[in-house]
Structure formats: C-alpha cells, structure tokens
C-alpha cells in the first residue's frame, strides 16, 4: 500500500494556478525530494498534504485514507518541520515538546520528550527558553517535535535552510539514519541541490505547479545527460522557459 497517493491535485488562488493536476505516490521508507524554483508550488503541496490548504480539485490519500475525510486520524500518523515555522520562544524545548506530545496523544510523554531531545542533542538545553537557542538548535528542536509521534510520513520544508554546513550535514545524517531505522517515508523540499542529491533517492521536479520530472536521482541525471542534480535543475528550467 502507498503511504501517500496524490491524484489530479490542483490548487488555484484567483488567477494563479499554484498546483496543476499533480499525481504521484510514495512508498514506505522512501525519501522524495521536491525540487523547483521559487513559486513552483512546493510549499503549497506540503500545506495541502497537511490539510492546511484545501485543494481546488484532486484527491490526497494517506495510509489508504482520504485526507479530506480523515484529517485528524491521518495527521496523528504524520508530522512536519519547516524552517519557516517556529515553536514558541518563551517556552523551553521540553515544554514545547510536552505541548505537542499531548496534541499527538503520545503515551508516556515525558519519556518520549527526553528521548527525542537526546536524539537531536538537545538534552542539555531542555530547560532553557527556546529564545536562547541558536538557529541550528531551533531547527533541531523543530525536527525533535516532528519525530515525537514516530511519524510514518514526515514532511520537511527546507529543514536545513539557514544552517551552517556542518550542522546541516549532521541534521541530514540523523534524518537518513532515522528513515533507515524506522522506515519513515519523507517528503523533503530544499533549494540545496547537493543536499538533495545526497539525501533523496527520488526527486519530483515542480515548475509552475506542474510535475516536469519524476524519477530516481541517478536515472534523471542519466536521462537528461547531466553530471549533477544542479546541472539537471538548470537544464529542466531552461527547457521549460
């Protein structure tokens, strides 16, 4: 069974067609990188899958359930982190996680919060107000929140944007390890193509709301006769222009 199945998904905001008849699927344990220039529809796609934006047309099925009819049930089994969404700065990492542990109805919340704080190297900072954390630590806190409920589908919107290369690399390593050990499926958007090449097995290339390429990274590079994902990106953009 597909973890996520998108069929004919479209979203129109007045004159702008942000998503145009998108269809794709993700299997268990797959990391799907979503690529595309600014305004391609990446974040709109993530927000549709989270049920924060209602599609104009099409269907989103998660874990075999229609998202529109089973939003709460589905969201319990997935989670997300974005570099553009914060957790309250006035609360400590532990308090922030305790709030979400309750929202996700996690059993033994205190232990699970300690577990994810430890996983992302935040145990020593658990009682400091989040405002005192660096941007790298805040992003790791977002990721800790995203892992709280042991999600089967994880949505990451530019999770390493603004992080220094070393922390970004460490964050990616933790994620890849988790995906391997827990069989999580991931949708991952990033502007960092090298990072995408290292992390995602498969990429979905969006441009002006349409899927213009979908395949395994190595296959796409070969098919488009490019050496890297970055060259592939510019070639597709060039072809589309």
């Amino acid at each position: 069974m597909d973890v996520l199945l998108i069929e004919g998904l479209s979203k129109r905001f007045n004159d702008l067609l942000a998503l145009d008849d998108l269809s794709f699927r993700i299997g268990r344990g797959e990391i799907l990188g979503v690529l595309g220039p600014n305004g391609a529809g990446k974040t709109t796609l993530i927000n549709c899958i989270l049920g924060l934006i209602k599609p104009t047309a099409g269907r989103i099925t998660v874990f075999g359930l229609d998202l529109a009819k089973n939003r709460s049930t589905v969201l319990r089994r997935m989670n997300f982190a974005s570099n553009y969404v914060s957790l309250p700065y006035s609360l400590t990492p532990y308090e922030n996680l305790m709030v979400f542990a309750n929202l996700y109805e996690i059993e033994d919340p205190a232990s699970r919060c300690d577990e994810v704080l430890d996983l992302f190297g935040l145990s020593a900072l658990k009682n400091k107000p989040a405002r005192r954390l660096s941007s790298g630590q805040l992003m790791r806190l977002n990721l800790a929140k995203a892992m709280l409920n042991r999600p089967e589908l994880l949505l990451l919107d530019e999770p390493t944007a603004g992080l220094d290369p070393e922390i970004a690399k460490k964050t990616r390593e933790i994620l890849v390890e988790l995906v391997g050990s827990e069989g999580i499926s991931v949708i991952y958007t990033s502007h960092n193509l090298k990072e995408m090449e290292e992390t995602a097995g498969r990429v979905l290339f969006l441009n002006r709301g349409r899927v213009v390429a979908d395949g395994m990274v190595k296959d796409l590079i070969r098919e488009y006769e490019t050496g890297t994902l970055e060259e592939f990106f510019f070639k597709v953009i060039g072809d589309e222009a």
Binding site: N47, T73, V85, L87, L91, M98, F100
Partner: protein, 263 residues
C-alpha cells in the same frame, strides 16, 4: 473530543504565563488600576451626591462584572494571538487537533483568567471599599456565567476577524468588547440611553445582566426575566460567533490564509 489535545492547548498557555512576568502582571495590573481609579471616583461621588446611597455598590459591582466579560473575551482572542505572534499556528493546526478541541482549550484558559481576575478584584474591593460582591449570593452565579458566555462569543468572533484579516486586525482583540460597553448599560440603567439605543440594548446579553445586577442590589429579588433573556441571547450570540468562525476557517483553508497568517 480528545481531552489530551484540549490539555495540550491549556498547557501551552500555562507554560507561557509561568515563564512570562509581564503577562502574569497583566492579569492583575488592569483590574487593580480600574478598581483603584473608579473605586475612589465613586466614593467621592457618593460623598457629594447623597441621592444615590448604593452608588459605590452599583459601580464596583459593575466594574468587577464587566471585567469578567472582558477577561473571558481576552482569554480566547489573546491566546489565539499568542500562537499567531509565535508563528506557531501552523504547528497547532497541522497536528491532529480538531477545531472544537482547540476552542475548548481556549475556553478553559479563559475560565482560568476570569477566576483569577475575579478573585483579585473581589478581594481588593472588599479590602479597599468594604464591598463584598459575594453578598449577592448564589444569584451571582448566573450573572457571571452569562457574562463569560458573552465574552466567549465576542472572543470567538474576534478570532474569526483576525483569522480573516490577519495581523492588521489584532487591535480588535482589545477593542471589540468595548463596542458593546455603551449599550450594555454597565454603569447606568438602560433607561438612561436614548430610546433607539434602548432598543439596541434589548438585544445585548450583557445589558440584561447589568440590569439584573441593579435589580438584585436594589430589591434583593432574583432577576429571573433579565437572566432568561440574557441566556437566550447568549445562546444566539455563541451560535452565531461559532458559525462565523467555522466559515472563516473553511475560507482560510480554501484561500491558503492559515499558513501565511502572522507573516
């Protein structure tokens, strides 16, 4: 209704207040200032005008009860704003929480704020002016409940406006309750208003509560008629405000407003 999720919303606000001295002070500061300022003004007026022997009682009673409505409204709309300011709304609404669970959490927070402010004001009024609001007896309970219900209705309506119009509308969180104040006849009887405004007041739940309070102080009789009208109007107010909020929420999902709110 999943109580764990409701508790999550309550916990978020409790942590916030525990860690924020300015927010905690705000719960006590305005009730204290209001009580000192208007309490002494009413004492002075009572000394100079002996025609109204229960002037202080009227005034302080009204002041304490109005604060209940205001706090109940703030408990809803400011709690929502806190998540908007923290850019945390997406995290909340991308969690499994349902709208009625979110609203229930905010209502519990609102009750906590009302209880604290009410106890502070009642105690101070007793200490400074020997005004003991609990003298009103059990009749106080329906008065308070009706004011809280109206506060929730106004708070939910305000939240809908903020969700629809974004951060520009946040000033409404402090202003909307005061739109009802002149028609609520908080500090004067409804018959003081011009006839056409008396017509408006007849449709405002709080106007019946304050009329009821004065009846109770004057005669000691339970103001059943006023309270029944207040309750019926509150059911309509709450129903309408929840309906408006749900419509605005559905609109925000269609227009993609929710992920952008607070930006």
């Amino acid at each position: 209704m999943k109580l764990r999720r409701v508790w999550g919303i309550i916990l978020r606000q409790l942590y916030l207040y525990r860690r924020s001295l300015p927010r905690l002070l705000e719960v006590f500061y305005w009730p204290l200032v209001d009580l000192l300022l208007w309490g002494f003004v009413s004492l002075y007026l009572q000394r100079t005008s002996r025609d109204i022997p229960v002037f202080v009682v009227y005034f302080l009673g009204a002041l304490i009860l109005w604060d209940i409505l205001f706090r109940a409204q703030q408990g809803i709309s400011v709690s929502f704003l806190e998540d908007m300011w923290a850019r945390n709304l997406i995290n909340i609404f991308a969690s499994p929480i349902r709208i009625h669970e979110y609203l229930s959490g905010l209502i519990v927070i609102s009750i906590l704020k009302v209880v604290i402010a009410f106890l502070v004001m009642s105690t101070l009024a007793w200490l400074f002016y020997s005004f003991y609001i609990f003298k009103l007896g059990l009749s106080l309970i329906p008065l308070v409940l009706n004011l809280m219900a109206m506060g929730w209705a106004v708070g939910i309506f305000t939240m809908a406006l903020i969700l629809r119009f974004g951060q520009e509308a946040e000033v409404l969180a402090w202003a909307v309750a005061f739109v009802f104040m002149p028609f609520s006849a908080v500090f004067y009887p409804v018959d003081t208003l011009p006839p056409f405004l008396q017509g408006v007041a007849a449709f405002i739940p709080s106007a019946h509560v304050f009329e009821g309070m004065r009846t109770l102080i004057d005669s000691g009789i339970f103001p059943a008629g006023h309270l029944m009208r207040a309750t019926l109007l509150n059911i309509i107010f709450l129903g309408l405000s929840i309906m408006v909020f749900l419509r605005v929420y559905a609109l925000s999902l269609r227009r993609g407003i929710l992920p952008k709110i607070g930006e």
